[in-house]
Amino acid sequence: MNENLKLKPGHIQGETGIWEMVIGLEIHAQVSSKSKLFSGASATFGAQANSNVSLVDAAMPGMLPVINEYCVEQAVKTGLALNAQINNISVFDRKNYFYADLPQGYQISQFTQPIVGEGEITIDVDDNNQTTIGIERLHLEQDAGKSLHDQHPTKSYIDLNRTGVALMEIVSKPDIRSPKEAGAYVKKIRSILRYVGSCDGNMEEGSLRADCNVSVRKAGEEFGTRCEIKNLNSIRFINQAIQAEAERQVEILEAGGEINQETRLFDTSSGETRSMRSKEDAHDYRYFPDPDLLPLEFTDSFVQGIKDQLPELPDFVKKRLVNEYGITPYDASILVEEKDFVAFYEQAATGGDGKLTANWMISELFGALKKENLLLSDSPISPETLRELISLITKGTISGKIAKDVFAEMMISRKKPSDIVEEKGLEQVSDDKEILKLIEKVIADNQDKVKDYLSGKDKLFGFFVGQVMKISQGKANPGLVNKILKEKLK
């Protein structure tokens, strides 16, 4: 569908015209608490089945919920970071439905009065594209347990370890218009969560997952009927699922069909979405205030206390990086995704060329780490060695091309770039006399070409530069080579 290069991201070329995607995301972020939202069992991931389960989580008769203070604070903190309204009174409701991994027969959630109301965040989609996405609400709720369907031919196995773990559900407004924006939105939310420390953002372990509401419409038309794709746990899958779902909807609509509002699953192997059979029943969740709990109330000073301790947020740091280091907002947005990116960058860029450092970090270092499947914290190249490498380039000690070789060597040997340059004799030749010698050799060896050049074949100039660089093994300062060569070939 993307053959048409003029098509904007999030647009689909159909038979009847161009369709636009309308996307809203519900992100479920596990609160970084030690214990569960309403019980004292551990919220740790990966324990033995049913070991992180209290009698409250197993919904034994007469068991009652008591709320975790830390989770409340984290929700408020996150709400503040999302520039959102904090509701000093909020209510926990029961969402009633039957499922094997929902022991109470209801999920304790917040329906009409969430702890956090409307807010907004800014996302950077690419270099010249910044957009604001509205936040509808953030509420606290319980996670469900886990059903394993592959242990037995006719049975499902139930593990309640996750049951009752605290989640923050962050609901966006339907302001997202492309899979790329959706990805940028999730990245931004993830980085905010990690900055404030309310969620570890670990998508592999399911600490962060998203439900995507997708619909399509012709430009300017009303919103179409949406489908909800459940439980996506990577940005790649979010991208693919949205694209696949939007294309499916366009196909149906163009064939004269209608979209059924329904819950769908993304099949990662086929790359398609499919209807969820277990959700086929018309649902009626019968929300009502949980009579085992009271309204959650806190004072303005409680909120202020949390506000006072709020760390620097990504947007703030981004602005600072742009101002202090002169880098582009987009580069800055990539660097602020993780706190340790920023720390690394600032150490590497201090006193050096900020822009060049950002380029090297984003394209070279991140690329190399990704190839080796390494985290920044495992990087063989430290901020200090990167800083030295950048300074070797800016001082003219080595050329950018040689620097790439040095970089590759640093990745393997963890050596200082100056040592590598010295050991391998890679220092750039910037001595006029030495360069002159090389140029004279090239001229002597290529007399016929010199004649052609002088008779008007200007294009040959590049050939001579190349030859000089070649016999200098790349070490000749290209600027000087150009300058002197021009004088010699007059």
């Binding site: 008769p61 068991m63 009652l64 009633n96 039957f98 027969g105 019968r286 009271l294």
Partner: protein, 487 residues
């Protein structure tokens, strides 16, 4: 009658303390009484060995000079309380074979204070009922009349019957809309529902969380004070538990009520109340006046909406509270090929008709399209009912009402759910407002059935309630013993 059965709770406590009797002796007497009155069906489970073991421990304690407030006193526990390693069924088939691995806070408080557990007492299934006829294991019979099988009331019918039949020195109950006070009235004993939040709900099988409250069923007002002293506690495990110290209720016995204002709500004198009850209601008013209190008419204008509000809110909460009985983690499961079928058959067969009816009503009033018209409306009227009492208690200290519109009725005679619901007409309003209420026997009607009168106090004024009830108890001087009591 064994002399040992003549002691009330306080009397037995004094006798044990004075070493006139031992806990093992009185416990044995009660075990025998339980066996002799087993035809009443009050007990679902007798834990003889455990009782004697606990009694022995109490006697040892006493011999070491230690004495706890309920030391060595044998009591019965309504089957709504989860008791560790002792079958707890809430009188339901769906919980047959459920052995809790934990002890409810209220019962733990009792054991900590030295009480001895006799066994588990029948009740209406999940405490839903006013006649004890919805219990899976069958009816409980009111011990008062031998000629006819009368209902002990409900839902704490087993508890009330056991105390009246002298097969328990005292018993625990739970009260959602009258489940302690109404059976106490039917069985000629004292039943106290404390302020909502006084007793922890932790470990009590939930029926309607915003209304459920545990309390004692006893022979006397003093006994109720002694029991509640131990049962009540602030419990961090129950978010609705009140962090408010309760004074020692025993020190309020014998206080004068001179100058206290007793409210008589005009809305509680209506058609359908039996003449004998009207007569004893008036007598009670007179007794309190004679004791020096001032009788003040009050109005609780939303009284007639209390039952409708109750029959929306309680089933709504119940429909959700009972969702956990799904055959997955505990209780009886009916096997089926799919999970949903398993749920439907397990619950369809595991719950009795009244419970199913209430789950259905509760689901209906919460369902999309009806929530505002029923549930939300009921919550709003509930506020008005609570405000009625708040206004009333600006003028008076206590409110006096009959406990029930009639005395005990014959088992099997009230088939229509609605007629049954009307039994709770005088007890439900205080439940909705979360207020403490006590029912105590003040006389017998013409057929020899006990009549209960209810006193309602302001929130957390159990102490005042005890003082006033104690005065009324003295005046009424009710000292009849049920025909069917253990001999």
């Amino acid at each position: 009658m064994s002399d040992l059965l003549k002691y009330d709770l306080l009397g037995a406590s004094k006798a044990i303390k004075a070493k006139e009797i031992s806990s093992v002796e009185i416990t044995n007497a009660y075990i025998e009484a339980i066996e002799n009155t087993s035809s009443l069906g009050a007990y679902l489970e007798l834990v003889k060995d455990k009782a004697l073991e606990m009694a022995k421990a109490s006697d040892e304690n006493i011999s070491k000079g230690k004495f706890r407030p309920l030391e060595g006193l044998p009591i019965g526990i309504k089957d709504m309380f989860c008791t560790k390693d002792i079958k707890t069924t809430a009188s339901s088939k769906i919980l047959d074979n459920f052995y809790p691995t934990y002890e409810s806070t209220v019962t733990q408080n009792l054991w900590n204070d030295g009480a001895v557990m006799l066994g588990k007492l029948s009740c209406d299934e999940f405490a839903m009922g006013s006649s004890n006829e919805t219990a899976a294991k069958g009816n409980v019979i009111n011990p008062w009349l031998k000629i006819k099988k009368m209902s002990p009331g409900g839902s704490s019918g087993g508890s009330a019957a056991a105390v009246a039949a002298r097969s328990a020195l005292a018993a625990t109950g739970t009260d959602t809309g009258g489940s302690i006070r109404q059976p106490a009235a039917f069985c000629g004993i004292t039943g106290l529902k404390p302020t909502y939040g006084r007793c922890s709900r932790w470990g009590i099988v939930a029926f309607s969380s915003s209304l459920d409250q545990a309390g004692p069923l006893t022979r006397t007002v003093s006994d109720a004070a002694l029991m509640l002293n131990s049962m009540a506690s602030y419990d961090k495990k129950d978010s609705t538990s009140a962090n408010l110290a309760m004074p020692d209720l025993m020190s309020y016995l014998g206080n004068s009520i001179k100058g206290k204002k007793i409210g008589i709500p005009k809305e509680y004198t209506q058609d359908g109340i039996s003449d004998d009850i009207v007569k004893f209601y008036q007598k009670s008013i007179d007794w309190l006046k004679e004791a020096g209190s001032e009788i003040v008419p009050v109005s609780l204008p939303h009284t007639k909406y209390a039952l409708p509000v109750y029959y929306i809110i309680a089933p709504a909460e119940a429909s959700s509270n009972l969702a956990r009985y799904d055959g997955v983690r505990f209780g009886e499961r009916k096997e089926a090929s799919s999970l949903d079928k398993m749920y439907e058959i397990t619950r369809g067969e595991g719950f009795g008709d009244e419970v199913k009816r209430r789950i259905m009503i509760g689901t209906y009033v919460l369902s999309s399209g009806y929530y505002d018209a029923y549930y939300l409306k009921a919550q709003k009227v509930r506020r008005l009912i609570k405000e009625d009492f708040e206004n009333g208690f600006k003028k008076v200290d206590f409110i006096l009402t009959p406990s029930t519109p009639t005395t005990a009725f014959e088992l099997g005679k009230k088939q229509d759910p609605l007629t049954m619901y009307l039994n709770d007409i005088f007890t439900v309003p205080a439940s909705l407002a979360g207020l403490p209420g006590i029912s105590l026997p003040v006389g017998l009607d013409q057929s020899g059935l006990p009549i209960g009168i209810q006193l309602i106090a302001n929130a957390f004024d159990e102490a005042g309630l005890i003082s006033t009830a104690h005065v009324l108890e003295k005046s009424a001087n009710f000292n009849f013993i049920a025909d069917g009591a253990a001999k």
